[in-house]
Point group: C2
Chain length 312, copies 2
DNA sequence: ATGAAAGCGCTAACAG
DNA sequence: CTGTTAGCGCTTTCAT
């Protein structure tokens, strides 16, 4: 546990000088600098970020609230955010909430207590207001991977779900499907609503029929790939063929979606990029001492494979 | 930004008293306690963990080094570790290294700078010595999901890879396979070696033949499910049938492995449990001010599905 | 049972 | 260009 003072003594200078070479916050004579650097290396000194945070009133840490870590989309989002943060000297505190309101509250409390400089929320339970307690304390927040109306102080980096659903319905309509269904997870998640709504809107716009899955739908779009695959399983167990009897579309393009026994038609959104941007915007805002006002929408592309085909 | 002092003033007591009610570290009169609690609630006060850490010389934070966040096994490990940590009031700093030595070094430096109370390493590049710099500074370390020889100060919570490979080879041998191969990822990861070695040992023990994949093997075991699935794809594109011509075994039992178009025979290890135990051991050690000396091995079970069959 | 005072390791004026 | 001096918000003896 060597401190700044130890380094200073060893180099025969004062603490401020050491501090100055570390962050080069002020000019230091080349020879002095060399002595200090040597002392740092010999002592294996790592500045105590805790002390620095206390003094400077910034922790160089970001909070990241994730609903389902096993979903590859979120895994990539975490990866992107974490890498972007580390490149800028920021640490990332992750909190997996699994969309449980109680866990969400606790996570936010912990992040506030740790005085993180900003928080990325990658998904929350439906009625959640957790972003408000953050914003009211002056902590910038960006929603990543799901949009939300409302608060002007909220940054958003999102996939273009509406555009994606437009593409999905266009594709399906082109194959002659007239009765379409959307299935979503029981998980009480906000993003589910936007995809469902976008899908419904695109269906209505073409005068097609929106039905419940099972109630004679010839094409089913799922909220994500995992659900699409479950749906295919269920259909096949019921003796219906995909895509001959029913077409199925997923969302996410998980690695296995392209497997040749699956060949899932799906939507690809770039989780890593979204995570990266979210972290960048947050860090910029934190440095400027403000909120993230920007709202970015990243395109998603329909990947047509073989789980969709002409309507029977 | 309300501080302990603000609360104290509001409640008409001293800082020490407030501190005592918060952590109930000393007896406080019931009436005083009520007043303090009221003040805390009214002010929405959250203790500044940064200041607490500086004074108490513990950060209540754990570092978690992960090689591949998109692998569901690691995603679960992170989940388990993170939840166990939060239950005990600890935060988790994740670092995704993607097995790049340079990134690993940086991550460790960041964790040291932030004075984490312990580090879970879930995978590192092969020759890595990153645990040593940690241990030498007195930071307890536990290796999770991959074993390692060596340092006595190192805790280990691992899957029984050897036992798993024994089961795999037993299964394959029972189906009449004599020429077996093991394929591993290019990723320079330590765990790959143990599985490969365990497989080779089990093969040798039975007097079977270990060959390269492609060189006439009738059964192939892969380092993980993703690789097993790639292997199946490749084989089928070459016109060989699975399992009729070649049997394939995976490792991890990812959610999609059970899909009926895949029905992958694989090994299931409980990532979430391993992450949870790793965090628990680490926190116990941190509290006791020592290292984790314990080494735990968690069983893995072979799940037989339909990607394996009798030798041709 | 409660309060006063001294730091934890660092940064940020301000002097020299 | 370098050193001195105050704190940041909290915990922790030690008095009272």
């Amino acid at each position: 546990v060597t401190t700044l003072f130890d380094v200073a003594r060893r180099a025969g200078v004062s603490k401020s000088t050491v501090s100055n070479v570390i962050r080069d916050s002020a000019p230091v004579a080349a020879s002095t600098r060399r002595r200090v650097e040597a002392a740092i290396a010999e002592l294996g000194y790592h500045p105590n970020v805790v002390a620095r945070s206390l003094k400077s009133r910034t922790t160089f840490a970001l909070g990241l609230v994730v609903p389902e870590p096993t979903n590859p989309f979120y895994a990539l989002l975490v990866l992107g955010a974490e890498r972007a943060a580390h490149e800028r000297g920021y640490a990332v505190l992750v909190a997996n909430t699994e969309c449980e309101p109680e866990t969400e509250e606790e996570a936010i409390g912990a992040l506030i207590g740790r005085r993180v400089d900003g928080v990325i929320i990658a998904g929350v339970s439906s009625g959640s207001r957790i972003h408000e307690s953050l914003l009211d304390r002056g902590v910038p927040v960006v929603l990543a991977g799901f949009g939300a109306a409302g608060d002007e102080r909220l940054g958003v980096v999102d996939t273009d779900d509406e555009g994606a659903m437009e593409q999905v319905v266009e594709h399906l309509a082109g194959l002659g499907h007239r009765r379409l269904a959307f299935v979503r997870h029981h998980l009480d998640e906000t993003s589910g609503e936007r995809r469902a709504a976008g899908f419904a809107a695109a269906v209505a716009r073409r005068g097609l029929e929106l039905v419940q899955a099972g109630a004679g739908a010839t094409a089913i779009a799922a909220h994500n790939d995992a659900l699409a695959i479950e749906t295919i399983d269920r259909l096949e167990r019921e003796g219906r063929r995909v895509p001959d009897d029913v077409s199925v579309v997923g969302f996410d393009d998980v690695p296995l979606a392209s497997h040749q026994r699956l060949e899932l038609t799906t939507v690809r959104s770039d989780g890593r990029e979204i995570g990266r941007r979210a972290a960048e915007l947050l860090i910029d805002a934190a440095r400027a001492g403000g909120f993230v006002s920007r709202r970015e929408v990243h395109p998603a592309v329909l990947v047509v494979r073989r789980s969709t085909g002409r309507a029977a």
